[in-house]
């Protein structure tokens, strides 16, 4: 096995320690469960194996606002990174959920994006490069710190949403964006189907939309951009203004779960919560349970007693997928893969992590496939 250090870098003691741990686990046939701030412990089932903490990897490695690129170590608190970016008038384009203790590594590994995702892209869209330790204990570097890069397969983007199944993230580089000069939120009263039509129609016109979500009978639209551009767009949007502080809180909440949605009667009764990804213009799923909508229609929160197989069949029939969220013991939490993709996953795991060091069960592609590939 080769252990290699990128040229010109002195080996970092914490990284060296992690490499040793991964190798030892491989040799001894142990499973490791990578942990950052443990803010997402409730998601995806209880992992097996012993914890491997990334919290010793802290700090921003490189940040030049004019490059629109930041490189940061995986155990850095997400809040620290966001504060640093904000101090320079910039932000992560994908508006991740800002759970307390969330780290940058966990943010990438979980691949969770917030309301802005439908307009300025997801975690993987903003990812430019990673350094990681693979299942063989090799230190690898993929991608880089530049936006245009077509050398080699995009193994860095593959890390977003992989839940650590492919390796321990050490350092990640993001593309960042300037914070918009002006942001205004408007609220319109309408039912879910009207809201789905309205938000998608608006998104097809040159209006600077940066979020569109519906919950509790209200459509919330956010406009972002130059003050002049946002003002000019307001007339076509309609609705009532929401004050800036409330708006900021509302969208930050949305990144984790639509506000109020956690306090409904169904929530109080612990009805299982699902997170469905569907084509944006899909009809309202209100008939199937309590629904909230984000990502301009592409994300549906659904609280329902319906059996897991029914929810999954529904998601598949709509051309989407369903993930078990809170109060939801459906396993695997992840939407099962069709047999072809499942086989590809297994082959990728076998080759990148032959000893199954990172097979903590969090990423459940090995669960039995129950869904046939749509139309294949």
């Amino acid at each position: 096995m080769t252990h290699y250090e990128p040229e010109g870098r002195t080996p970092d003691p914490e990284e060296a320690r992690l490499v040793d741990e991964v190798r030892a686990a491989g040799t001894e046939g142990r499973v490791l469960h990578i942990r950052g701030g443990s803010s997402k412990d409730g998601l995806g089932g209880t992992p097996r194996g012993s914890g491997l903490s990334t919290l010793g990897l802290k700090g921003i490695v490189d940040y030049d606002p004019a490059e629109l690129v930041v490189t940061v170590r995986a155990g850095t608190p997400l809040a620290d990174l966001q504060a640093e970016l904000a101090a320079h008038g910039q932000m992560l384009p994908f508006e991740p959920p800002a759970w307390p203790d969330a780290t940058v590594g966990g943010t990438v590994a979980s691949g969770l994006s917030g309301p802005r995702r439908a307009f300025s892209g997801s975690v993987r869209d903003a990812l430019l490069g990673v350094r990681l330790i693979d299942g063989r204990g090799q230190l690898l570097q993929f991608g880089g710190q530049v936006m245009k890069n077509v050398a080699g397969f995009d193994l860095f983007r593959l890390q977003a949403g992989a839940w650590g199944r492919l390796g321990v993230l050490l350092e990640v580089s993001f593309r960042v964006l300037p914070r918009p000069q002006s942001e205004l939120t408007r609220v319109l009263q309408m039912d879910a189907d009207q809201a789905i039509a309205h938000m998608n129609q608006l998104a097809g016109t040159p209006v600077p939309l940066s979020a569109a979500a519906w919950f509790g009978g209200l459509l919330h639209l956010r406009l972002s951009g130059s003050a002049a551009g946002v003002q000019a767009a307001l007339s076509g949007v309609g609705g009532e203004p929401l004050d800036p502080l409330s708006a900021e809180r509302l969208w930050a909440d949305c990144a984790a779960q639509p506000p109020g949605f956690a306090e409904t009667a169904a929530a109080a009764e612990s009805v299982p919560l699902w997170r469905l990804a569907v084509p944006a213009a899909t009809r309202s799923l209100a008939a199937e349970g309590e629904e909230a909508i984000d990502w301009c229609g592409g994300l549906r929160w659904l609280r329902t007693h319906a059996p897991a197989e029914a929810v999954r069949a529904l998601a598949t029939s709509l051309g989407g997928h369903a993930t078990a969220w809170q109060n939801n013991l459906a396993r695997p939490a992840m939407h099962p893969l069709d047999p072809v993709r499942q086989a590809l996953h297994r082959r990728l795991f076998d080759t990148l992590d032959p000893d199954g060091v990172f097979d903590s069960g969090r990423f459940d592609a090995d669960a039995a496939a129950v869904v046939a590939p749509a139309g294949a």
Binding site: A66, E67, R124, F142, K148, V150, G152, A277, R341, L344
Partner: protein, 507 residues
């Protein structure tokens, strides 16, 4: 006619994965293909194979064993199954405009052209998506969506010819990718077949596929992982208005500072392009776009959006340029003026082609802050190698296209141009950049890959390839060099592209 001879060379690309089938296997293979395809969908005669013996990198030429031109996905699957059963490599091809030899055949391979799968299956205006076959031209998608006020954003300058399948395979960029992203940011899903003909469906209209992000892996995979037969793309509302600022600076450093200043203002221009003095003069002599001849560098910064957004952004861009010492400034006041200011930039390659017998186009990306340093290094190298070099670049995203001047008829010039190019790519990597920003690796940059990546990463790439294609039959020998090749390599060799499509605008 413009003359673009490109770089001549003698080294043949290596094809380590596939051994040529015994001649005895050829007849049963061709018989099986003939049985599965319509008569006009299989070419086997030498004179028929000629047009397929190279892509946009035309100094590499090799006729394939046969060319399959299926009309439908089921026929694509049949070709793959048959070739797999006969242990025969398959080389996918779109429009053949690739500049790195990704679609170069090998003598033992069947070339699989996707050009006849050119149906736009569906446009959903409300959901803002189009579902298209891989042979659809990039520009045809925007043309079809125009009636809905929508378009497909990535716009490689080959867009009137290149196919969306090729764009997916190369993760192609365009002048507007600073603001609107690359192919990877605008494709929602693909369907196709693995090397053995197994159907695969990755991503789709629903965001964030479950499981690993295999869609990201497919983007830029140069036809090594699967053959794509359907692509779902995201459409965007067409901006109502666009204006461009042309600013001239005394030095490249000043222009570079202005680029940093614009981004620092919180502006992401729709396009942000730079040309150095040599490129500017070549262009002005050719198209008379109104560029000042005494400038050290000129910058083009475009803003698009609503009238209000554009007016605001343009004023701020102008202010930044003045602050950074722009010696002259012109802002388009009409669509005609905007197109005229862009005409120069678009004609940069042919304009350079008028003042040198041959040129060699490089494609490195660097962090923007290293621009002045890398350009100084290029100027030094230019002295050292005794060859001129004009610089054209996508300044917003740091993607450099240095154009090395040479004369293939002068003994030693070709070798000097190659050595110069090699040094430029090294300088890009040393500056923290990469060897290819948008043209891909193909066969052209296999050696350069050895400079950018170490053995463990290269082995991982091979492992990923093997996970998708265990038999190694899909476009073998491209994109990722063997470790053996890297070990053998005494120095890095880079070969330039002969221009096959002089009619297309070049950025």
């Amino acid at each position: 006619m413009l003359r673009h001879n490109g770089v001549m060379h003698t080294q043949a690309p290596s094809r380590p994965h596939a051994a040529a089938p015994q001649p005895a296997h050829r007849a049963p293979l061709l018989a099986a293909l003939a049985a599965a395809l319509p008569a006009d969908a299989l070419l086997t005669q030498p004179e028929q194979l000629g047009p397929y013996e190279c892509d946009g990198l035309s100094m590499y030429r090799q006729p394939p064993l046969a060319v399959a031109l299926p009309y439908a996905a089921a026929q694509v699957q049949a070709v793959l199954r048959i070739c797999h059963a006969h242990n025969t490599p398959v080389v996918p091809r779109g429009a053949g405009t690739g500049l790195a030899g990704g679609a170069l055949p090998s003598a033992d391979a069947v070339l699989l052209s996707l050009a006849r799968l050119k149906r736009i299956a569906r446009i959903d205006a409300l959901a803002r998506v189009a579902v298209v076959e891989p042979g659809v031209r990039n520009a045809a998608i925007s043309e079809a969506a125009a009636g809905y006020g929508l378009y497909y954003a990535p716009d490689p300058s080959s867009q009137i010819a290149c196919s969306i399948g090729g764009n997916v395979a190369e993760n192609s960029g365009g002048v507007h990718c600073l603001k609107y992203g690359l192919t990877v940011h605008n494709v929602l899903g693909v369907r196709g077949f693995l090397a053995d003909g197994t159907p695969v469906s990755i991503g789709g209209e629903a965001p964030d596929d479950s499981g690993l992000d295999l869609l990201a892996l497919m983007m830029g995979s140069e036809g090594l992982l699967a053959v794509v037969t359907e692509v779902t793309v995201r459409l965007l509302p067409r901006p109502r208005h666009a204006q461009v600022v042309m600013a001239a600076f005394a030095t490249v450093e000043d222009a570079g500072d202005a680029v940093a200043g614009i981004i620092g203002e919180g502006i992401i221009p729709a396009g942000l392009e730079m040309m150095d003095a040599l490129a500017t003069r070549a262009v002005e002599d050719f198209v008379h776009a109104g560029y000042p001849l005494d400038a050290g560098a000129i910058l083009l910064a475009e803003s698009d959006g609503t009238l209000e957004e554009v007016a605001d952004e343009i004023a701020r861009i102008e202010a930044v340029c003045r602050r950074h010492g722009a010696v002259s400034l012109a802002t388009s006041q009409s669509e005609a003026e905007r197109l005229k200011l862009w005409a120069g930039r678009k004609a940069a390659f042919p304009a350079v082609g008028r003042i040198t017998p041959d040129y060699y186009c490089m494609d490195g990306t660097i962090p923007k802050k290293r621009l002045s340093a890398v350009l100084r290094r290029i100027a030094e190298l230019s002295e050292q190698h005794g060859l001129a070099c004009a610089n054209v670049f996508h300044a917003g995203d740091g993607n450099l296209h240095p154009l090395i001047f040479f004369d293939a008829n002068q003994p030693g010039d070709v070798e000097r141009a190659e050595a110069f190019g090699l040094d430029i790519l090294r300088a890009c990597v040393e500056a923290g950049g990469v060897i290819t920003g948008e043209h891909g690796v193909g066969v052209e940059k296999l050696d350069a890959m050895c400079v950018q990546f170490a053995a463990p990463e290269l082995s991982t790439f091979h492992a990923v390839k093997a996970a998708f294609d265990p038999a190694g039959l899909l476009n073998p020998g491209k994109a990722v060099p063997t470790l053996h090749r890297c070990a053998e390599m005494g120095g890095m060799h880079v070969h330039g592209g002969k221009l096959l499509h002089p009619d297309l605008p070049r950025f």
